[in-house]
Symmetry: C2
Subunit: 266 residues, 2 copies
């Protein structure tokens, strides 16, 4: 049976709350997800939380009740608490009625089976966790295998990234690597590395994309370093009609990923 | 000559700072933009700020010096201040060295010349100012004429939206309208209203798009109301390969806008 917790000083409450900080996420190996929708996505992807907190209202939904029971049956912890405490834990004024902590999956680059999906997204030095979550969501939508975070990126397990991913964090593989390590792994098998560049001469709509296709997305401010562009098997440009010379990183990833997928239709 | 301001209590400092709030943006008719890049974009689009604040470091850049001089020559106000005060005004720990307040353009729906661009984006009840700014940036990139905000949307002149727009707020027209008003205006001339829907049977890649094309993007959580979908001349679906049933709103707008543009290439 779930415990009733009404004190901010409760150790589980403090532990969940601490997961808003990267340092604690890393030391605990856990991350937070909020709301019935994403928690149901996780369960449908075969993932149960290690800890789940909910309001009495939240537990009324049959899907929520199922997941709470399954969490406890699997040895996890379930606490019923107040809206106030949920709000404190999630940092939101209008918290969801469910909050759960999941084990961070660890995907080493070497364990990725590149032939399991036609598209993979690789993002270099992305700073905005919202962009990372949005790219994961897009990856799920185009049937990508996962996201490879290159160099120093924002934390994919941050609350902002998890929110933006809308559950895709549970379906997409996420690996991290420094650039040399990524290149070594990439070149140990098949795969076309595709970058977007203002200097490219091929229009992105005319290029020939091969499977598995690794889409390389650069940092929000600087784009890709020149030496990284030089490593690409294919550089394409997305024509810009207006004054701006670039797209939002998550938008560029989506436009490329949907274009690549469309190019394989016939 | 720019005044030197070193007091937080200075009336111009307080006025600029107040523009982080929607209420003050509305009553003053002004909005904030930060950084040399966006302020230069604005100047290149023929727009000068009414007020510009900068650090001594910020004024050293020749482009910045030009814009500061042009602002004063046009009767605007220029103040040189400290990094501390710039930080307080922008709400950022690492503020840009330039901060400027611009007059909000007022575009009434009736003043939009729909034939001036092949694509227009219409967004309904968008709640996330970052999405609005990102859609403006995408609109600039695809050569859209502007963004029509339908029903209650987040403020396109908020700091988050301006940042995400990367200057596109100065090149894209922005109008607001309730749905009935928008439909009346739309039907008073030519234009194809295109919505995306899970219920649609046409794949977005196979549809025939006509100019001017009005892309209708729905609310982040609910998508488009059914009656709004019913008003569309064309409903298309973007196939979802994974578990998720929708894309981020700004991503959906971009995927559609680039697809529509690509369909007109031949």
């Amino acid at each position: 049976m779930p415990r009733q917790v009404s004190a901010f000083s409760n150790s589980t409450v403090k532990r969940l709350r601490s997961l808003r900080d990267k340092k604690h996420r890393r030391s605990e190996g856990l991350f937070l997800a909020e709301g019935l929708r994403i928690i149901t996505e996780a369960r449908d992807s075969g993932r149960l939380p290690e800890i789940i907190a909910f309001s009495s209202e939240g537990a009324k939904h049959p899907l929520a009740a199922d997941i709470i029971a399954a969490t406890e049956a699997a040895g996890g912890e379930a606490i019923e608490t107040t809206a106030d405490i949920l709000s404190k834990m999630s940092g939101k004024d209008n918290p969801q009625m469910l909050l759960a902590a999941y084990r961070q999956p660890e995907t080493a680059l070497e364990r990725i089976d590149r032939s399991s999906a036609p598209i993979w997204i690789a993002a270099q030095a992305l700073r905005d966790p919202g962009n990372i979550g949005t790219i994961l969501r897009t990856g799920d939508a185009v049937g990508a295998g996962g996201l490879i975070l290159i160099d120093d990126c924002a934390d994919p397990f941050s609350v902002e990234s998890v929110r933006a991913s809308m559950g895709a964090l549970f379906t997409q593989q996420v690996a991290s690597a420094r650039w040399p390590e990524f290149v070594t792994w990439l070149r140990s098998g098949s795969g076309q590395l595709v970058g977007t560049s203002l200097k490219a001469t091929s229009d992105y709509l005319d290029a020939r994309y091969e499977q598995p296709c690794f889409l390389l997305i650069g940092n929000e401010q600087q784009g890709l370093p020149q030496s990284y562009e030089a490593e690409c098997d294919l550089l394409v440009k997305i024509p810009m009609a207006g004054r701006a010379d670039s797209l939002n990183a998550a938008v560029a990833a989506a436009v490329m990923a949907f274009c690549v997928k469309a190019s394989w239709r016939n």
